[in-house]
């Protein structure tokens, strides 16, 4: 009996969470003539036409490249600044440490909505407005506190004794970090990079306010989707969903630990 209920719950939950995903994949592959027929839930044939048109004719491909570019910039900056900070937070004892962590937690909760509008004014002065680099900088600010907190917890999982042992054998502190701690922390860091990628990939408000012609995929879709026929909307949904699903699959091992301690 208990087993029966478990199977029932399992099925219901799976349908609830996967059903909608299945529908948008199906919709994006359905020929438009089939989509507007009432009686055809399953199309007579599948087509990649909508996806292709969205990518080629409607600027989806360009927006996707911009998205990737923005995300990589955000990851590069936030990791370059966040890893040393995270490392220092774990390995050194100093005053105001908890305060810094608190500030990090707090900046995570400041919405980009608040910053984006006035950032435009600054960007106009710096000639950064409407560039992928500018959006990347803003996304880096959004991702950075997360990187600091997450790397600090990853590094605390690597025993300090290993580093000390390395230093006994003549490595410098930096050498010990590079040769011993980094390789051990690498899988966790890779997972947080992927996670940072998703955060940037999904962010839409700053991306639409800070850039007009160099919009990321979600921002591009937000501005064009309303005006496009339905099947392009579904194609857009599918294009955005696929990488997200792939990323979740890659970082699945870290899913719990990462979201358990991070803020978003």
């Amino acid at each position: 009996m208990k087993k029966f209920f478990y199977v029932l719950a399992f099925t219901a939950v799976s349908l609830w969470f996967l059903g909608p995903l299945f529908f948008i994949f199906l919709a994006s592959l359905t020929p438009s003539s089939d989509f507007y027929r009432w009686d055809a839930i399953f199309p007579s044939k599948l087509t990649l036409d909508h996806v292709r048109k969205l990518l080629v004719n409607l600027g989806g491909w360009r927006a996707m490249l911009t998205s990737v570019q923005v995300a990589l910039i955000a990851i590069a900056i936030s990791f370059a600044l966040g890893i040393p900070a995270g490392y220092a937070l774990t390995r050194y004892k100093f005053r105001g440490k908890n305060f810094i962590k608190l500030v990090m937690l707090f900046t995570r909760s400041i919405p980009l909505v608040v910053i984006a509008v006035s950032l435009v004014t600054i960007y106009l002065r710096l000639n950064l407005a409407d560039t992928a680099f500018g959006v990347g900088l803003a996304h880096a600010a959004m991702v950075l506190p997360f990187v600091v907190l997450i790397t600090s917890s990853i590094f605390s999982g690597v025993f300090v004794e290993y580093e000390e042992a390395g230093m006994v054998f003549g490595l410098t502190r930096f050498g010990a970090f590079l040769r011993i701690t980094m390789p051990l922390a690498l899988p966790g860091l890779a997972a947080s990079a992927i996670f940072a990628f998703i955060m940037s990939w999904n962010e839409v408000f700053a991306a639409s306010v800070l850039a007009i012609t160099n919009r990321t995929l979600p921002a591009h879709i937000l501005s064009t989707a309303m005006a496009s026929p339905d099947y392009f909307k579904f194609a857009a949904g599918t294009i955005m969903a696929v990488p997200a699903m792939v990323f979740i699959f890659i970082i699945r091992k870290y899913l719990i630990s990462m979201w358990g301690i991070s803020l978003k």
Partner: protein
């Protein structure tokens, strides 16, 4: 080593916030003129109420679902790992994607109508979108948000459940506690820090709700972040947009302060340390 990160955050978060203040408080007629303008506008009042209302409807539903799902997965019966990934599936989706997904189901030609029509349960398609169907739009937004953001709460709660020491529950078994009593007397109190953080994270993000509402309802149903976007992008008015943004910031600040005060001990002294 921490300095570069702090400087960057000051530059890209601190400085623009000052800019937001400047923009919001600048109006030729007086400092508070922008605030007076929005506070007395029907649009602001609606946006404010809608944002609160959405939060108040969505968050409790999500919470109940998330607790139920977390308990189900935490039983660790056969296939629980698969179940975990299935529930986590929407986790990485953006709100825009989630909105498009739910549009594919609730559109006039969407799958819900197709299925209901082919089952002969309805004779004409049901319309969910448009100014005349505001309450239906609201329902669709709620469903979308529940679908999209329940996994987030679920993961936080599951992490909390997994950190509970099993010995407490085993001891309760010895004393013959019922399942319900175990849940109320042991699991729930021990889960409290996770519950608090899950609820408050959701509350923080509820003030920023934007993509789902904007794509599905446009300005039929207004929300604070949506109005910020509208005033900036469509009306080209930075001052009013900044004023809206500042209201969001203020609400976030209040909730965030409460949040940090409550979970400070848990997260800073155990979690991140």
């Amino acid at each position: 080593m921490i300095l570069p990160a702090i400087v960057y955050l000051l530059l890209f978060i601190g400085y623009p916030i000052i800019g937001t203040f400047q923009l919001a408080f600048s109006n030729p007629k007086g400092w508070f003129e922008n605030f007076r303008y929005i506070f007395f506008s029907k649009d602001f009042q609606n946006a404010f109420l809608n944002t609160l209302l959405l939060g108040m409807v969505v968050i409790p539903i999500q919470f109940v679902f998330a607790v139920g799902l977390a308990l189900l997965v935490n039983k660790k019966r056969k296939g629980y790992k698969t179940l975990l990934y299935i529930i986590a599936a929407p986790l990485a989706l953006s709100d825009i994607t989630a909105a498009l997904i739910s549009y594919s189901i609730f559109a006039p030609n969407g799958y819900l109508n197709k299925i209901l029509l082919s089952l002969n349960w309805i004779e004409r398609p049901i319309y969910f979108f448009g100014y005349w169907f505001k309450s239906r739009e609201f329902l669709v937004i709620v469903l979308t948000e529940v679908w999209r953001a329940t996994p987030l709460m679920f993961v936080i709660l599951l992490a909390g459940l997994q950190s509970i020491n099993q010995e407490y529950l085993e001891a309760a078994d010895v004393f013959g506690f019922s399942t319900w009593k175990k849940f109320v007397k042991i699991t729930l109190p021990l889960l409290k820090p996770s519950i608090v953080s899950a609820l408050l994270i959701r509350t923080l993000f509820a003030f920023q709700i934007f993509g789902v509402v904007w794509l599905l309802a446009g300005r039929d149903i207004t929300v604070l972040a949506g109005e910020t976007y509208y005033w900036y992008v469509l009306q080209n008015n930075r001052n009013i947009a900044s004023t809206y943004a500042l209201v969001i910031a203020l609400l976030t600040f209040i909730v965030g302060w409460f949040y940090i005060g409550t979970i400070r001990s848990k997260h800073l002294e155990e979690g991140v340390e």
